[in-house]
Amino acid sequence: MKNLANIFKAKKLIKISMSYDDKKNVIGSIKITGKKNVIGSIKITGDFFIHPEETLESLEANLIDTKLERNEISKKVEESLKNSEAFGFDVNSMTDAIMGCLKNE
């Protein structure tokens, strides 16, 4: 597991800290359980607004086990936010904030 972090300035500040698995799932010739390049845990903080507020916890939960790839992340963010109203960021900027963690590897 690697620990990554990013601070991203959308209209409001988004701070991401996450762990993700970048190991190959093979030891010798044995395939082990687990997925490659997926988010193991993630915390999103910042001075933005989301109504209802519980949406952020759902977003974090939905991102676990998601591949750290732009399309996958964007899809999960869009799905998680669909019944909410966010101010200070949108699907693209939240995706940028998460993917930006890779630049700080």
């Binding site: 701070k15 915390k43 903080t45 001075d47 933005f48 607004f49 989301i50 109504h51 507020e53 101010f87």
Partner: protein, 245 residues
């Protein structure tokens, strides 16, 4: 005149209290509000840093420094940024009737605050989403939540600003604590320099005028006080809540 009118507004002037008590009472009032909206006017004793619901206390606040100088720290149930509450008047407006549009509901409540500032001699304007400005400088920040069909909007009207003290309590990167940065913040925020009681009285008049409502000046009930004590202790003063993110 505001499109929303109320027959009556229940006004509570609850004095200066701890951050956790102030936030607990907001939640108690949200849970119990009926058709009559509530305007609560209050301050903070001791001074307090509040953080937005989505923020991390450890990322935003110099907690050790706050402890050393006797300043409270509390998480709000509303989003937004960290706020140092000292020289200010704080209000909460709680209502079951409000525009469904978040922007319009901010505007609805802010109209009362803008009228207050105008009555005090300031040319105040709404600055979406959630600020009020005077001469381009922020004088009032607001935050909102909605739960079970009830809207809570709370916010601060700055009476004075101590930027150096604020910077010492918030985790501002060291390289940003320069004379220039302090000067920049001073250029962006504005304390109106009026007495708390004058602003409170003007706010009450403005609430009545904005919503064409009679004011019912009340104290919190014994039941509300008891529920607040419990919620203060069990939630807003707890590490679990304040350090949850």
């Amino acid at each position: 005149m505001n499109r929303f009118e109320f027959t009556k507004i229940r006004v509570l002037e609850t004095g200066h209290n701890s951050g956790s008590w102030n936030m607990a009472l907001d939640e108690v009032l949200m849970n119990g509000v009926g058709d009559t909206p509530i305007l609560k006017i209050y301050g903070w004793k001791p001074s307090c840093v509040s953080i937005g619901y989505f923020q991390s206390m450890n990322e935003e606040v110099n907690v050790e420094k706050c402890k050393q100088v006797g300043i409270d720290c509390v998480r709000r149930i509303t989003g937004g940024g960290a706020v140092f509450h000292e020289s200010e008047l704080t209000y909460s407006f709680i209502s079951r009737n409000y525009p469904q549009s978040i922007m319009q509901s901010y505007e609805m409540v802010c109209e009362m605050l803008i009228l207050t500032l105008k009555k005090l001699g300031f040319d105040a304007k709404f600055s979406p989403l959630n600020d009020i400005i005077v001469g381009g400088r922020k004088v009032c920040g607001n935050a909102q939540t909605r739960k079970n069909g009830v809207m809570l909007q709370h916010g601060t009207m700055l009476l004075g600003v101590d930027v150096e003290k604020m910077f010492s309590l918030l985790k501002v990167p060291k390289e940003k604590i320069s004379d220039k940065a302090i000067e920049d913040v001073k250029q962006r925020v504005f304390g109106i320099g009026k007495k708390f009681d004058l602003v409170a009285n003007t706010l009450k008049d403005s609430a009545s005028e904005t919503f064409s409502a009679d004011l019912s000046l009340e104290n919190i009930t014994q039941e509300e006080a008891a529920a607040t004590e419990v919620l203060d202790l069990e939630k807003y003063a707890s590490k679990e809540w304040n350090f949850k993110r």
